[in-house]
Amino acid sequence: MFFLAFSHLKQFLFLVLLMSYKFQNFLLIIMLVFCPSAVTSNEVLVGGSHTHQKSEKRLGFQHESPVLSYEEKLDFKVGQAIFEKIWVFAPSSTTASDGLGPLYNARSCSRCHKGNGRGIIEIEKSSSPSLFLRLSIPPTTKRHHQQLTSGKIGFIPEPTYGNQLQTFAYPGGRAEGTLKVKYTEISVELSDKEEIKLQQPFYTISDLGYGSLDKSFMFSPRIAPQMIGLGLLEAIDELDLLALADPDDLNKDGISGKVNIVWNEVANNNSIGRFGWKAGSPTLEQQNNAALNGDIGISSWMFSDHAGDCTQMQSACQQQTHGNKRRDKPGVNMLEAPKTMTDLLLHYTRFIALPAARNTKETKRQKGQKIFKQAGCQKCHHAKFITAKNTEHDSLASQTIWPYTDLLLHDMGKGLADNRQEFLANGQEWRTPPLWGIGLTKLVSGDEFYLHDGRARTLLEAILWHGGEAESSKQEVINLNNAQRQQLIYFLESL
């Protein structure tokens, strides 16, 4: 009886909530109609109250959100120190910093995310830590198909080399290989006969440490993305993303946009993906811990395998001493990165502030912004969101932000394709990367390497690589006159 009444009550409450929700919308509409100023938001503060206005642009991606309290700000600094921490091999005099590898791409987070900006490719070096290869094979067995169907893994790892190619190894061990990239040039002619040279990358994997790769192996090069505003991207309401999605292009605007559905290690379910070049990770925390495990070889509560990305085929690697062991208490297993540490990393990566937009009042910028819209760029590089009302940290809620992304997957054409699946993302689909902060790339990173593999040396090159759903927008940019193109770039650089 009581149960019945209670369940009715719940339904009743739900109805009331629904009605009040609708009513709210109604109110909002009234506000929109009658007080337009109430919704004009400040485009300078691209990250809402998580925007900083510090002048030293080189350090522009390293500041904490101004809203943090004294204590939270101190934890941000501590988290930053962990981000910059250089890991060492186990066993060492220090159990807190050991556990590197056995196979790894870098010894610290900041090695690849230099200044928290986009990664850079050191072309003359044999391997650039900021760029690595994801590896996989097509599903061949029944089990493979089952695994993919369950949505628990996004792809089938290469049997010997695992999820990615690690270019460094433990003392006495062999690295998986070296990765080199070479470019050939392709010309694109703009409407006013100006010729732009694009770089088509070619990858060479040499010095394979563990025998040959599977005959049907697939790879996807990935460069380190910028680290700003990640807490805000996570705070965008799922419903807003679903509202933007149009996987079958029902509105016939040529733009599909689909959410990636990926495995959520904590919720233990299939969730919407947001982070990574193919939106392969549902939460910032999972993205962090996956990178810690795959790139540095550090175990955490979420990915507790101390051997990182060593496969069963790499037995010597599996047997390496790891940082989980307590020398003073044999038999007690710890994590190489304890929860305290990964929590601090999460806090840090969540609250890196956005630099304010520059030159927003200049006509040249405004013209550029207009072109951006006219060319349809904004259909994927969705300019503005208001973050969800309820978020884990109150300061991230109801923020008006300007990330210029829809976090959705789009077909970008053959030119950019990696021809490799990741959960629902097919070989031509990539997640729209946010454009906020992009104008500071050169100052922050010291160089410019745009797109998922860093092949584009300028913003214009990056635009000219767009294809697939973005083909018509690209054509519009090609057809612009020189002055207009400069206005467009000027707009992007102001972000």
Binding site: K54, L74, V88, S92, S93, R107, P355
Partner: protein
């Protein structure tokens, strides 16, 4: 003398003194000297204290050099210990100067040569196997300059035949643009005297044998080159300290830079330095990080287990600046116009608050030092499961954060605008709005 004071603040002072017990003791001369108090006299005294404390650092570094000469003459354990003691003594004045680094670009740019840390010690000398053999960040991770006269690294051969001052400062220091290639300064000398601390969070510092410097009974190999390294590194430290001492003299760069900022700019620099050292740097990077991770690698003076004094004197340096006084290693007092009195003119209670906070920090620091003197050094105190020790360190963090909060109030009272207190990054950069 320079400035005739308006009546109101004077009244404030006399009122404050009736309520402040401190007026009877340390500050007894305060009221009579208030006529000398002005923004510029506070800045002038800040400069005098800089000069006095860098001079003191120089004197104690020279004393260290003398004991090292004796040690190299006769490399016994006893003489090694005397050198170690001299190193510890030399750290006391130097750490009190650290407050100058934050806010003064000239000091910050120079600091890397004398106090850079942490370091990849494999660059310099032999290390335990656990140190590892390679690093993706640092090709010189294991260069071992003492053992290698002509190492070829990354395809390039380095001529290390003479471990001279210029070789250390111009070639080896930060070689290949890697920051952890620290070839000069206090911590290098510390490593050369103590060796690696392989005790983790257990008690005990590095234990390099004196025979590592023996010509007749050499351990660790290449003793002659190790002697050369130690001697050159110490001589270089003396040169660098001399430069910084001179930089605060009339016509010195640091002094001129500071004075060029004007009164408001000068006070901003002083307070930014005090707040940033306490907050981002000391409370955050140097203490809380190690505490949360229970990580002895986060120790500041890790080879010698001298971290407690290093932190203690960092905090003392902040107090020195606020009270406008410095007592050198020969117990000579330098004293003058200070922030404490300046604040008292405007807001007596705030001055009292700040002095209370400084005292709390000092007493929290003292507790750590007391433990360390009993053998529970910083690395032991931050050890996992050492609840009592962890609490002692946590109290320091809390006291420093508290102190930084009050520092921010001082900044407001002096009308210096919105300054952010941070760590070592970007302190000399003026805050400005994009548009």
């Amino acid at each position: 003398m320079r400035l005739s004071l308006p009546l109101k603040p004077l009244v404030g002072i006399s009122l404050a003194c009736t309520f402040l017990s401190a007026c009877n003791s340390i500050y007894s001369s305060g009221a009579s000297n208030t006529a000398d108090i002005s923004n510029s006299s506070v800045i002038d005294n800040y400069i005098h204290i800089a000069e006095a404390s860098y001079q003191d650092s120089l004197v104690t570094a020279k004393a260290l050099d003398t004991t090292i000469d004796v040690f190299l003459q006769s490399p016994t354990e006893e003489n090694l210990n005397l050198s170690k003691q001299a190193w510890v003594s030399a750290r006391a004045p130097y750490q009190q100067t650290e407050v100058y680094r934050f806010g003064n670009a000239a000091v910050d740019a120079w600091e890397g040569k004398v106090n850079a840390w942490p370091l990849d010690e494999g660059l310099i000398d032999y290390v335990a196997t656990a140190y590892g053999t390679e690093s993706d960040e640092n090709p010189f991770y294991n260069a071992n300059i003492i053992a290698n006269t002509n190492p070829t690294i990354g395809g390039e051969t380095v001529d290390a035949s003479n471990i001279s001052k210029s070789f250390l400062s111009d070639t080896l220091h930060e070689i290949d643009e890697v920051e952890s290639n620290v070839a000069t300064g206090y911590h290098v000398i510390e490593f050369l005297l103590w060796g690696q601390d392989l005790n983790g969070t257990n008690s005990g510092a590095g234990s390099r044998p004196a025979t590592d410097y023996s010509l007749s009974n050499c351990t660790g190999g290449n003793c002659e080159r190790r002697r050369e390294y130690l001697k050159s590194a110490t001589a270089l430290l003396i040169d660098d300290l001399q430069d910084m001492r001179n930089s605060w003299k009339i016509e010195g760069e640091a002094r001129k830079d500071l004075l060029a900022k004007g009164e408001k700019g000068g006070l901003t620099t002083i307070l930014t330095g005090m707040g940033s050292l306490a907050y981002g740097e000391l409370a955050g990077e140097r203490i809380k990080l190690g505490l949360m991770l229970h990580d002895p690698e986060e120790e500041h003076d890790c080879f010698s287990d001298n971290t407690h004094w290093s932190h203690f004197y960092d905090a003392k340096g902040i107090k020195n600046i606020y009270l406008g006084e410095y007592i050198n290693s020969s117990n000579v007092l330098t004293q003058g116009a200070n922030l404490s009195r300046l604040i008292r003119l405007a807001k007596p209670k705030l001055d009292e608050e700040m002095r209370t906070k400084l005292a709390s920090t000092e007493s929290a620091m003292q507790k750590m030092v007391d433990q360390a003197l009993k053998g529970n050094t910083f690395d032991v105190l931050i050890g996992e499961g050492n609840t009592e020790g962890n609490q002692i360190i946590k109290d320091i963090v809390d006291a420093l954060v508290d102190q930084a909060k009050t520092t921010e109030k001082l900044i407001n009272v002096l009308g210096l605008g919105n300054i952010e207190l941070e760590g070592s990054d970007s302190l000399d950069k003026p805050k400005s709005v994009f548009e």
